[in-house]
Amino acid sequence: MKIKSLDPRIDRLGIELEPKTAYSPAREMDQWQTYEVFHQQNRGEQHMHVGIVHAPNADMALLYAKELYARRPKCVNIWVVKTSDVTGTQYEDSDMFDPATDKSYRETEAYKNTRSVIEKFKKKNPNLSKHTPELEMAENSDGRPKTKQSNSSTEDKDKKKPGIVIGKKK
């Protein structure tokens, strides 16, 4: 008895309902090896890891990586790397990533409130603000920095672009 399906393609395969010989279990490593896929959205940006594909070699891995991971999002370049070529740490060692002391001040998160700290400081010390260019800029009533119009002397300009000055002197 053959499998009867609503799908004519399945009927055409002529698959036996009861296979005459039992299916043998797949051999170990019956599958192709895996490749890690890295996707680059724009030229110059970092390649991001997006997943894996099974493939017999790198050329075929690229073929599949394109179809599986770069159909919809913008993409300019794909890398594939054999998974077995990747060297990684052990999960048992993952505690080494936890700091022994609080180093949260090093995290970018810690700078989240910098602006409000400055504002608070400025309110407490109104006289100091006159000597601090950053605060002077923020003090503008129209919200725009006034430094461009106010500092016209070349000396001041040079001060603001130290990199250029050093270059010229050399």
Binding site: H54, M60, R71
Partner: protein
Amino acid sequence: MKKEEKNLEAIKFLLYSLADDDLIIGHRNSEWIGLGPVLEEDIAFGSMAQDCLGHSLSYYTLLNDLGEPEPDTMAFNRQVNEFKSCHLVELPIGDYAFSLMRHFLYDTAKTIKLNSLASSSFEPLKLLAQRIRREHKYHSMHGITWVQQLGNGNDDSRSRMQNALNEIFPAAFGIFEHHPFSQTLHDENIITHEDKLLNEWLEYISPLIQQSNLKLGNISEDEKVKFLGGRKGFHSEHLKDLLDEMTIVFKTDPVAVW
């Protein structure tokens, strides 16, 4: 017949042949969806088949702009003898070696045609070909890579690819079958004449086949003729079966709004 009228008729004929080829191969290749050899390949092959349907839709839309019926009507509501597709695309999917070899032959030929169309004097077709060519680049890369992999694989894979090539190569000449508008289209710089395209194609695939450790046989005229007639509306029995299956849902209610 005035020159403009003749040109328009020629352009429509060309668009029908391009659209029908892509529609039929797209449907044929979509038959592998869910049955492909490995998951990744199943997805890639199915998605290329879908792309081909998209290409055919673009050609039908262009035809519609030139006064022909709605794309759905052209795809689902024409008689077998109204189709201008070549026999190569109609043949049943066979085994995977057969489908891959057809994919290789069809898509390398499509590259040659798109290259010519990309500098067509018919502006809308030129722009469309340039757009399709981008997506098609992957299709041809996929076909060439597979043929080279399997041709240079083991004895089993090589002999299966060679058998598939022997079986299907004669039918591939039908892609470049002459038709009454070949010369007009060539003279008007709409698309290069089939004879020239055929030679370009053979020059293109010969080294690829050689690198794949395979051989292109010498095909006699008699063998080629068996697969000709598609452009004139003469088809193998396979096309009717395909159209019956493809239109089965559409025909249950042809006026339904989808």
